[in-house]
């Protein structure tokens, strides 16, 4: 145990995801030896985050204004919405440069063990968007794990009653540049059942 504020700093850092006690200690001592201006800048940023980060009114992505950059962009197709769990998933899809539509960030996935149901996610906002805008396709891009699949199933059940709306799910399958022989059975099984004609 260190004395006073140093230990406080280590304890706080240690509560962050992916940071163990040893890493927390290393970061703390790195901060102690760095330029006070750097620390002040970090503190200011944290202060701004604490005051409240703005989320896009339309899609729920982190934003600087009322609407995020993507929702303000006139060139993006307004009739295709890609539904993702978190803001970081928007970045992941954006990096592909393949998608020209807009996004909807749910803020998580159905997870009853952590008390997350549809009310805790931005489901209602999604339904409102679909009923008012001229949306023709919803792409469900939740994570391919138990909770993400459950969320996808829920969305399909809710969205299938909208007339003229196409609901699609990201294909799951083999990673590019990988070896077939090293693929696990679950992934390969999915890839096989989701195969397509050429």
């Amino acid at each position: 145990m260190y004395e006073g504020v140093v230990q406080d700093l280590i304890d706080e850092l240690g509560r962050l995801p992916g940071v163990g006690p040893k890493s927390a200690q290393r970061i703390a001592f790195h901060l102690l030896s760095s330029d006070p201006a750097d620390i002040t800048r970090l503190a200011e940023v944290l202060g701004k985050v604490a005051e409240g980060v703005q989320f896009c009114e339309t899609c729920g992505n982190v934003a600087e204004q009322e609407q995020c950059r993507i929702c303000r962009d006139e060139r993006r197709e307004p009739n295709v919405i890609c539904v993702v769990e978190e803001s970081k998933d928007v970045l992941a899809v954006e990096r592909t440069r393949e998608f020209k539509g807009r996004y909807h960030v749910l803020g998580g996935a159905l997870d009853p063990l952590s008390g997350v149901g549809p009310d805790q996610l931005r489901m209602r906002e999604l339904l409102a968007r679909i009923s008012s805008d001229e949306v023709t396709e919803v792409i469900i891009a939740t994570d391919p794990n138990t909770e993400g699949e459950a969320t996808a199933t829920y969305l399909v059940r809710v969205l299938r009653d909208f007339p003229g709306l196409t609901v699609t799910r990201l294909a799951s399958g083999l990673p590019m540049g990988g070896d077939l022989e090293f693929a696990d059975e679950l992934t390969l099984g999915r890839a096989l059942s989701g195969r397509r004609a050429l």
Partner: protein, 391 residues
């Protein structure tokens, strides 16, 4: 298949153990608590990624060490693979095949097959349904490794669904069962449960269908007097929480192979029917996690009716049947006989020894020499104070 080399580091009581192995029997002799069973447990872990003695990984690591290492050179036909498993409780375990890292430890399943006989086997007959479900699932995973993933995903869905049933049911089961909003969320987990549950259920039914003839034959061999037929025959039947909604000829040797789509529908319907009682009790009442394998002797359930000796014969028959099944399908498994001869009478001993002596590789542990049948003379090690001494 057989192990050519086995190396343990900080596994259980072994700080370090290094064994050059060959085909045939390998006999480990030593007093209790010296670590004989730990060697067998390590070999079994390669095949199932679990221990037959404990459910968590923590006790597998030597006291005050962070991780344990099992390394084995596995010979299957003329192919040799080196499998390494690093067990670190609290973190994720790691695996390597031929020194190359694989994505998940699960990927090594299917390389090593084992069938283990242990004194705990008696609970297959006398114990809770959970013991028999574990027996089926462990065998299933050896038969077809992809079920390891399906089973763990099913468990996850089950935990999520139970959490939801509990929180929704708090408001009163009847009120919740009439609330369309609560039902629509529950329906999502219903369909996940039905889809994964049906795959697990179908695989278990087919397994029981294939295992039943082997079990009956093995029991005849063990319990029949020399030259004569036994007076009772052994049978196994899968008891599903679906009850009569399960097609009657599923899971029987003469019947059909189980159809996953039919089972998805059956599970889905059954879940809807038991909605209110599930909400009342806050747990999932339908699904393979509530099923059982019924073991019968002469038509009556073995649990409660069979004598101690008959129960032992049945437990042995189930293990021998697993051995025959794996041998037919996946290549000859390694036999692990953990202190089991001391528990058996002369006739059962002789029968087990006869099978074991023909196996490609068999590990035997015993406290004293007299417990090892004469057929199983092979390489002998004495185990003492953290050392293995070859005789």
């Amino acid at each position: 298949m057989h192990l050519r080399h086995l190396q343990l580091t900080d596994f259980r009581s072994w700080e370090h153990a290094d064994l050059e192995l060959g085909q045939g029997p390998i006999v480990l002799i030593g007093r209790n608590g010296k670590g004989k069973t730990n060697v067998l447990e390590a070999v079994g872990y390669l095949a199932t990624l679990g221990s037959h003695r404990v459910s968590s990984d923590t006790p597998l690591v030597r006291h005050e060490r962070e991780r344990a290492l099992i390394r084995a050179a596995v010979v299957n036909g003329d192919r040799e693979l080196v499998v390494e498993l690093e067990i670190s409780p609290g973190k994720s375990n790691r695996a390597r095949i031929n020194r190359g890292a694989v994505g998940r430890p699960r990927d090594v399943l299917g390389i090593v097959h084992t069938v283990l006989f242990a004194p705990e086997d008696l609970s297959l007959v006398k114990g809770d349904p959970a013991e028999r479900r574990r027996f089926l699932d462990d065998l299933l995973v050896q038969r077809s490794p992809r079920y390891a993933g399906i089973r763990s995903e099913y468990d996850r869905v089950l935990r999520q669904r139970n959490a939801l049933l509990k929180s929704t049911g708090k408001r009163g089961a009847r009120a919740a069962a009439d609330d369309p909003y609560a039902l629509s969320t529950l329906a999502v987990w219903d369909s996940q449960l039905a889809e994964l549950g049906a795959q697990l259920l179908a695989a278990r039914l087919d397994l029981v269908a294939d295992l039943a003839p082997h079990t009956a034959a093995a029991y005849d061999g063990i319990a029949g007097s020399p030259g004569g037929e036994p007076d009772k025959s052994a049978g196994i039947t899968y008891r599903s929480s679906l009850g009569s909604a399960l097609p009657a000829d599923y899971g029987t040797p003469e019947g059909q192979r189980a159809d996953v789509d039919i089972l998805i529908k059956a599970l889905g319907d059954a879940v809807v029917e038991s909605r209110e009682s599930e909400l009342e009790r806050g747990v999932s009442l339908i699904g393979p996690h509530r099923d059982d394998l019924e073991i019968t002797l002469g038509g009556s359930p073995a649990k409660g009716y069979a004598s101690h000796g008959e129960s032992w014969s049945l437990a042995l028959a189930l293990r021998l049947a697993s051995y025959e099944l794996l041998r037919d399908e996946a290549g000859e498994p390694i036999l692990l006989l953990d202190d089991v001869f001391a528990e058996l009478d002369r006739h059962r001993r002789a029968r087990l020894a006869e099978v074991a002596s023909r196996a490609e590789q068999v590990f035997v542990t015993a406290a004293v020499d007299e417990d090892v049948p004469g057929e199983l003379t092979g390489v002998r090690y004495t185990v003492d104070e953290g050392r293995l001494v070859r005789e």
